[in-house]
């Protein structure tokens, strides 16, 4: 495997938006992005946590529009490419065109891993615009390796030059990662790149990313200090340090990235990004990581334990985007508790 060079992709300014309730300021974006750029991180994602067009009552309105964030960051990059996530059903090709116009160089079209055929028009347009085009298969734990490959091939056929196995729930064990990445590597065209996006809900963010590399992935998502949904993404400075020890080349300065994490990202956090009970439940039950803060808020508002809300969302087999069900479940749990009291 030609795994000598691994492309690191930082998620702080997109997945990290979940952990910051989409309230990252333009100044914070610029400071963090320029520091990541200076550390040599080759790709940086910038958008609402739920991708372009994610601003909503359901997911939360961001402090600024996607366009304002992108326009603030992109001109300041010396070497890093800025990417944006787009989830069809939430964002549209209008958002994609906007992102292209403000200088986004990579579009990651994300879909629930079973629904790749909703991405055709977006992947095709992104490719036509000459952008690095990624098919991003969310909640990849929900499909076996063969079925995941079939969905990946759809995206490859629409024009994606890179396919991601995305562990949105932080549920996968190392063997799960190995089997899926291996199936993608064996089954996709040799020129198609393969990426892995981990969450740290079972403390496997770094380990799973290493497994992915060993199985043939060459792009790894993470975020400095893990700033991301759930227990965070794979902490990028940790992955980079381990990669350096293992002789895996990333081109990213180990100490500069440590400094970004320690001195810029950690002070930005509204709450410590750590593996608390709710995040562990996400990883244990296979629940979409960005449900975390919504469930904590709904739990508080309706007086029901947030971990019960998350377990119920797992039992219902909810997928990314169904944040509306969090309040619905909380109301049901509250009503059920009231009924029990009255019996």
């Amino acid at each position: 495997m030609n795994n000598n060079k691994i492309i690191l992709h930082d998620m702080c300014l997109r997945d990290g938006m979940h952990a910051k309730r989409h309230q990252i300021s333009l100044d914070q974006m610029i400071t963090l992005a320029t520091a990541l750029d200076d550390a040599g991180v080759p790709m940086i994602e910038v958008a609402h946590g739920d991708g372009l067009g994610g601003a909503s009552l359901n997911y939360g309105f961001a402090a600024h529009s996607d366009e304002e964030y992108l326009a603030a960051v992109i001109p300041r990059m010396k070497q890093a490419k800025v990417s944006a996530l787009l989830i069809p059903g939430i964002g549209t090709v209008d958002h994609l065109n906007m992102a292209h116009q403000v200088g986004v160089r990579s579009i990651r079209v994300a879909a629930q891993c079973t629904e790749a055929d909703v991405t055709q028009q977006h992947i095709a347009l992104s490719r036509k615009l000459g952008l690095d085009t990624v098919g991003f298969l969310m909640m990849s734990h929900m499909l076996g390796p063969k079925e995941l490959l079939a969905q990946a091939k759809l995206m490859e056929g629409y024009g994606a030059n890179c396919i991601y196995c995305t562990d949105s729930a932080g549920y996968m064990l190392q063997d799960d990662v190995h089997q899926r990445i291996d199936a993608l590597r064996q089954g996709l065209k040799s020129e198609t790149e393969i990426g892995f996006h981990g969450h740290h809900n079972l403390a496997l963010g770094v380990a799973n990313s290493l497994t992915a590399v060993a199985a043939g992935a060459n792009r790894i998502d993470g975020s400095a200090a893990g700033l991301g949904a759930g227990a965070g993404n794979a902490p990028l400075e940790v992955f980079n340090a381990v990669a350096s020890r293992m002789g895996i080349e990333t081109g990213v300065d180990v100490f500069k990235l440590m400094a970004v994490a320690e001195e810029i990202v950690v002070p930005m956090m509204d709450q410590p990004i750590r593996l608390d009970r709710d995040s562990l439940v996400l990883g244990y039950a296979g629940v979409y990581s960005s449900f975390l803060l919504h469930a904590k808020r709904a739990g508080k508002k309706y007086g029901v334990p947030s971990e019960l809300i998350l377990m119920e969302l797992g039992r219902m087999k909810t997928v990314g985007g169904q944040e509306d069900m969090i309040e619905d479940v909380a109301l049901n749990l509250r009503d059920a508790a009231c009924e029990t009291l009255h019996k």
């Binding site: 909503s56 009552l57 359901n58 069809p88 059903g89 939430i90 549209t92 090709v93 209008d94 629930q112 079973t114 629904e115 055929d117 909703v118 055709q120 028009q121 929900m142 508002k301 219902m316 087999k317 909810t318 997928v319 990314g320 985007g321 169904q322 944040e323 509306d324 069900m325 309040e327 619905d328 109301l331 049901n332």
Partner: protein, 303 residues
């Protein structure tokens, strides 16, 4: 029996996919309209086979074949459940022959029609092509309209979650049409100043029922009692033609946010009951056709 059937208004169904076939099953029960033709483009389609078995005239040669029979078979109304790409052409051919068109594609050439909200108005306006918005729109716009009827709504947002198995290839190929069309109908028919629509497909087994959530931001603090009454009355109105349309939670009030949580269970006519999204489209289209047909003076004028 024959006489009775002749009094019904003859209609044609164009498109033999999930929507067209489900609509046929419902139309066969109608006291008002008589589904006479089913038009497809694939002789092997399940919909065409079912239509033939149910005694409809069928063709797999598309609208051009149907056109030859419009006058002789006295077709007054056509439902178009094909795709936005071909609807314009279908519409032109049908209108040239004076056929009332009910558009179930996202093409939206004609005005949006959400029966519980604006069908009476459309009948008065004699719109000869009406568009049924989207499944998510049919499920949620009545609620936005019910809130707007009480006080001004600055922003209306809907989240429609459907079972993966109920989403046909047309919807999947052009998912942007769903979000755009629904958002614009939230504004035009729902009365929100700004609209947004989100659609999620869920692959769970067994498949989940269609869920729809409506979030609105009112301009002034919400009048909770008046909004609750208006929403409940509207749900009852929609449930007249979509029996599986139920309130699950809400209205919930949080500052100026009003949220309503709905579920739509289908009748299981063609796809199983989880496909409430299919049901609400076809039930709304059937309701529209029946109301238009009952307004018979108007139909005669058009013909």
């Amino acid at each position: 029996m024959n006489n009775q059937q002749n009094e019904k208004i003859n209609v044609a169904l164009i498109g033999s996919g999930n929507i067209g076939t489900d609509l046929m099953v419902k139309a066969l029960r109608s006291e008002v309209i008589n589904p006479l033709w089913m038009v497809g483009i694939d002789s092997d389609s399940d919909g065409l086979k079912r239509a033939a078995a149910a005694g409809l005239k069928t063709t797999h040669l598309g609208v051009d074949e149907l056109i030859k029979h419009i006058k002789r078979d006295n077709i007054k109304i056509a439902f178009d459940a094909t795709s936005a790409y071909v609807h314009g052409e279908n519409n032109r051919k049908l209108q040239a022959l004076g056929v009332q068109v009910i558009d179930l594609t996202p093409a939206a050439i004609g005005p949006f029609c959400v029966p519980a909200v604006n069908l009476e108005q459309l009948i008065e306006q004699r719109a000869n092509n009406v568009n049924m918005v989207t499944c998510g729109g049919q499920a949620t716009i009545p609620i936005v309209a019910a809130i707007s009827a009480v006080q001004a709504v600055a922003y209306g947002e809907i989240v429609a979650t459907i079972a993966s198995k109920s989403a046909g290839p047309g919807t999947r190929k052009n998912i942007d049409e769903f979000t755009r069309t629904t958002a614009s109908a939230i504004e035009q028919i729902g009365g929100a100043v700004e609209g947004k629509a989100i659609i999620v497909m869920n692959p769970a087994e067994p498949p989940l029922m269609m869920r729809d959530t409506v979030h609105c931001l009112t301009v002034e603090p919400p009048d909770q009692q008046a909004i609750t009454e208006s929403v409940l009355a509207m749900i009852a109105k929609v449930a007249q033609y979509v029996p599986g349309y139920v309130l699950k939670n809400g209205p919930v009030f949080d500052g100026n946010r009003v949220s309503v949580f709905l579920e739509v269970e289908g009748l299981g006519d063609y796809l199983p009951a989880y496909a409430g999204n299919l049901d609400i489209m076809t039930a709304a289209a059937l309701r529209t056709a029946e109301m238009l047909a009952i307004d018979s003076n108007w139909l005669r004028n058009e013909a």
